[in-house]
Symmetry: C2
Subunit: 197 residues, 2 copies
């Protein structure tokens, strides 16, 4: 296996631990890095060094940013009064890419999962309940899985009596999706929630 010295082998092993990479594709990526040393390897090395120093978790919402409070929490234009609750930072970024508007976020850090030993104390539910009163609507944008829905129910319970409007994302046909490939549950929900044209 030692075709290229211990430094290269170690780099391959670390790259192979990234999601989407295995030992073979990590080796290809490292070869590409080495071949494009000036254009890719040195800039990537520098970018990683900078990120290691700069990256932190926002103490308000749980977003990952180079500032805390993060750019979103510190943005004074985000005053729509809507707080979107997501499981993970990746979901927050996906909603931002979708351009959902001048909203704020709360990252739970996971979902309730008794089987995996994840209880309410492992998530940022207390922090959510503590800051919820600053908003007029809480949108529960958790995944449409069993764990996600259980978590949504739990949060709704905790917010009962606060007088807040609690909503969830709509179920339906994905834009560009073909009916033929959709599961029955989604189709049935999409029919129930049909809208007039």
């Amino acid at each position: 296996m030692a075709s290229g010295g211990p430094e290269i082998e170690q780099l391959i092993q670390l790259m192979a631990r990234l999601p989407g990479f295995g030992p073979r594709s990590a080796r290809r990526a490292v070869l590409q890095l080495i071949k494009k040393k000036e254009q890719l390897m040195i800039p990537l090395s520098a970018a990683l060094d900078r990120a290691v120093v700069a990256v932190r978790t926002c103490e308000v919402c749980g977003n990952i940013d180079t500032a805390s409070p993060c750019t979103i929490c510190a943005d004074p234009r985000r005053d729509s009064g809507i707080l979107i609750v997501v499981e993970d930072v990746a979901d927050l970024w996906a909603l931002e890419r979708a351009g959902v508007g001048q909203v704020k976020y709360h990252v739970l850090g996971g979902v309730l999962s008794p089987l995996d030993g994840v209880g309410p104390d492992d998530l940022t539910v207390d922090a959510l309940v503590a800051r919820a009163h600053e908003f007029r609507e809480i949108v529960l944008a958790v995944n449409a899985t069993v764990e996600g829905q259980t978590t949504a129910h739990y949060i709704t319970d905790r917010l009962t009596g606060s007088g807040l409007k609690v909503t969830r994302l709509a179920h339906g046909v994905p834009v560009g999706g073909e009916l033929d490939y959709l599961d029955e549950g989604t189709l049935s929900q999409a029919l129930k929630a049909r809208t007039e044209i």
Copy 2:
């Protein structure tokens, strides 16, 4: 798009240029890196820094290593007299993983391709011809593509008269492969080159 500060965005853009990654998977990988800062991001950053300093191309064979001549060229046990000619460092590493024995290598750095403007001077053919006399057999392990075979013919021509034995890899059914999925060319070659059991 700026969900996480310029340092994070730049890291994502650089990761997206690795083979096997696109913008979406690079974002996922960067999130994973940030979440596993101690176990993954800091070690990867350090490994990249070390590799940037240490990695070089072997001046003898074209392999990528942290020494030049590389570990393979400097290995005194590799005295079988067999030189395997490959297109790319990735091919060299693949052959090493296959454990082909105590051989040496020569990396061409590509294949002849008039359409892409790649001529003999862009490859290390001259260096190959210069060192070929140190060996008793030259194995042309170029890819079984049109360009690969053209390159193999060109090299064979250049070595004509040197008295060297020039060979190529066998064509046939891949180990574990199903006949049904193989192309006709491979099947016909495999039948022609059949061996007695």
